[in-house]
Subunit: 473 residues, 2 copies
């Protein structure tokens, strides 16, 4: 089977991705360079992601706020490393109304500066701590090469910002939010991730350390999919965020930040979709079931509506496709849009009080009794969710390798890229050397120790870190 609007993965993976994005009406290019239009199907997916993640944030005690989109240049410059990291990719507002501004304003590339400025006014004593805030917003980074969802000049994200009275508490928060992300990716998106710490070179500008979740595409490319940063007192010193501690002494606060973005939609597509279009795990699909009368017939439509009502009562989101298109066309449309289950209601099945249920991921068809339909749908949705995760997990396992030396790394990256486990001495020089192999970068450090037996994959000296390496999207 083929969808003529979609390039096959085996032909050209990058084209396949863009074709799926467009064919499933997730996004389209806009007249604004480097920015996309989130079309209804893409935005509904983002809304569903927001809803589920937001519940998790609120369960962990976070409150939503909204900071201004503008950052005055002086405020941005207070923390030196941050501005060094972000200045080259800021968009600058220099005119307001009919006047030139006295000070340039950056469109927020990230909001540590504004949160720090706010915390400095609001935090007085340990009783004011912790403050656990999150914000849903759009950010701008002036990227040169862009791809829908994966990298664009404007994207949507959430950024959590928290401030604590102790190092231990702030570090625990950094870990906790990484866990929230990992849980969300695995349980909702059905995307397995590798977690660990970024190297000094790859960490967030201004962070003491950065934790990361890394996903893998079907063709073995790595996607940094979410990060959680521990700042220690760096921003507190730069922005003067002090509190009176229990010993009645002034102390600088301890901070974290963490974020995931619409790039998740890219990771989701790259993990599950196929040559027929989008494949969505049921727990994140905005519409879970499509009910299709295979002819425009009153009786059939009435059966469809009864099925929908019954699914409604179980909070399964379904819709009846009433359009005047052919049944085949409707099937293909449900497929390309990644609706997890399709129920075909036809006269022949109905004679025996039956309907046909088709799973999007496996395309498996089953003829089931109309009396059982709601239970069958619930079971199939659950099964599909866990099957998709297992399949993705197996795919990642198959693409995960160990390497002892550069030749082995090269062989892997040249022929069948993926996650490469290899030890590293900790020298940036060796890290840079790896880049010569198709841009291979450290994805994360999964373990650190003074290894006796293990040697650096590049220089052969004693290793200090076990690292996952990969080609970056």
């Amino acid at each position: 089977m083929k969808n003529e609007k979609i390039t096959q993965r085996s032909e050209n993976f990058a084209d396949w991705y863009t074709d799926v994005v467009k064919a499933a009406r997730l996004a389209d290019y806009s007249s604004v360079k480097g920015c996309i239009v989130f079309e209804p199907n893409g935005y509904a997916l983002w809304e569903k992601i927001q809803t589920e993640l937001d519940k998790m944030f609120k369960k962990t005690g976070h409150e939503n706020v909204y900071m201004p989109v503008f950052i005055p240049e002086n405020l941005l410059r207070k923390e030196g490393e941050l501005i060094e990291g972000f200045a080259p990719e800021c968009a600058w507002i220099t005119e307001g109304g009919t006047n030139e501004l006295e000070e340039r304003l950056a469109f927020r590339p990230t909001s540590e500066t504004l949160f720090s400025d706010y915390f400095s006014k609001k935090v007085k004593t340990y009783r004011d701590l912790p403050k656990l805030y999150n914000q849903w917003c759009s950010v701008v980074r002036w990227e040169k090469e862009t791809r829908p969802f994966l990298r664009s000049r404007e994207f949507l994200w959430q950024e959590g910002h928290t401030v604590h009275s102790s190092e231990a508490e702030a570090k625990a928060e950094t870990d906790r939010m990484l866990d929230v992300y990992k849980t969300f990716f695995e349980e909702y998106l059905a995307v397995p991730v590798v977690t660990g710490r970024k190297t000094e070179k790859e960490k967030f500008a201004g962070a003491e350390y950065t934790l990361t979740i890394e996903a893998l595409t079907q063709n073995g490319i790595c996607l940094q999919s979410g990060t959680s940063h521990y700042f220690g007192q760096k921003f507190a010193r730069a922005y003067d965020i002090k509190f009176i501690n229990k010993n009645n002494e002034y102390e600088y606060c301890y901070q974290t930040s963490w974020g995931v973005s619409t790039r998740m939609i890219g990771a989701l597509i790259m993990a599950h979709s196929d040559d027929l279009g989008l494949v969505l795990p049921p727990k994140i699909a905005p519409k879970q079931v499509c009910i299709i009368p295979i002819k425009n017939d009153e009786k059939l439509i009435s059966v469809c509506e009864h099925i929908k009502e019954s699914l409604d009562s179980k909070e399964i989101v379904s819709y009846v496709d009433y359009s005047d298109k052919s049944a085949g066309f409707k099937f293909a449309e449900a497929e390309v849009n990644g609706i997890p289950l399709r129920i075909e209601v036809g006269p022949r099945d109905l004679e025996h009080n039956k309907v046909t249920v088709v799973r999007r991921d496996t395309l498996e068809k089953e003829v089931v009794s109309l009396n059982d339909i709601t239970n069958v749908v619930m079971q199939k949705l659950d099964k599909m969710q866990s099957d998709m995760f297992l399949k993705a997990q197996n795919s990642v396992k198959e693409k995960t390798y160990d390497a002892k030396n550069m030749e082995e790394v090269k062989e892997i990256m040249d022929n069948h890229p993926g996650f490469v486990n290899a030890y590293w001495c900790g020298d940036e020089e060796c890290e840079l050397k790896m880049k010569e192999i198709k841009g291979t970068k450290s994805r994360c450090i999964v373990e650190s120790s003074d290894y006796k037996e293990e040697k650096c994959v590049v220089c052969g000296k004693s290793a200090k870190h076990k690292v996952v390496w990969g080609i970056q999207y």
Copy 2:
């Protein structure tokens, strides 16, 4: 009773407003001129408004999308009236990364241009119509004088944009969305509104006509609170949005747009709040009930938790105040934050299996049996919602006047401003003349006709419109 952080309304209404915003921790000033920080209580209110309005939009068939925040200057200039209206208040991005941009980009002040550009690519035949889209986002207008929620350089809003195959359908959409707004204001915010059509002078730049909902503050000032625009084919011509109609001919589309913003929060405060702080109608309060143990006592806390569980089961949003503050402090805090009901759980009441319930709007206390608590809470929340609307409605009625001439208008605006019903000939000169009375402007035309008996309030000539006038915030 007084809250010492809040100026009394009778002393200074403007200061009272700002004090309520700050004391209820809705928003705070930021280091970015003209922009506010939405603090947790303020943002939670916005989220609740979004949730309820979004349901109404989806019920009326609208889908959410997201367009880029940037509008290239040339794209913005395609429709002449729009750019004339908005250019003086646009913020301009002129630098991206380390380069000057070849073309300035406006931060969206409103998105008719981007939606039109998108529709022009997507609409081909009448089968593609209507498209009913909405977007939640932030917009920027370079205002000189700002007030939290009422007017700020950046604010949050929703903007609906729809495109239709007939004039009648587009006009019906314009009416329908005005009705949705009116319903939302009256049923959720408990804020009565006057609806009608804007004069030519006051309509949206680029619209054929603008419908509006207008609210009134407790001190008789008018707040334009939501608008719904009919564009006819103006944008379709400027952006070339054509479709093949049922007669197989090319035809320009018919468009609408409609929006409400975080200004609603200002209208809400101005309509209901009092000298003790925020007063929120139960249907829009993010937290509806505060349960306060009047001592830190295990038994009391356990009763509080039982009450919360019982309210949870009825989907009433409540919380127990566990903080180690005094009972009096907790009462005042629930008051200033506008929690609709407060339940005081004390040992003396409890001996008789009773608790005390206090309504925020009237401060009425009632001692009720613990067995009835959930029913009592539900009844009180319902009653409070309808009482608040009635009270606001009476307040508006009291401040609504008829005037026959300028002297009468002046007497009203000088001494007890409000909505003034007065006839108008339709000449802009007369409309401008009214402005000399404390800036009185036409709020909306509520009826038009070739009146025989009625004369223009300014010039005395035959009237064409019955208009509501008022002082604008």
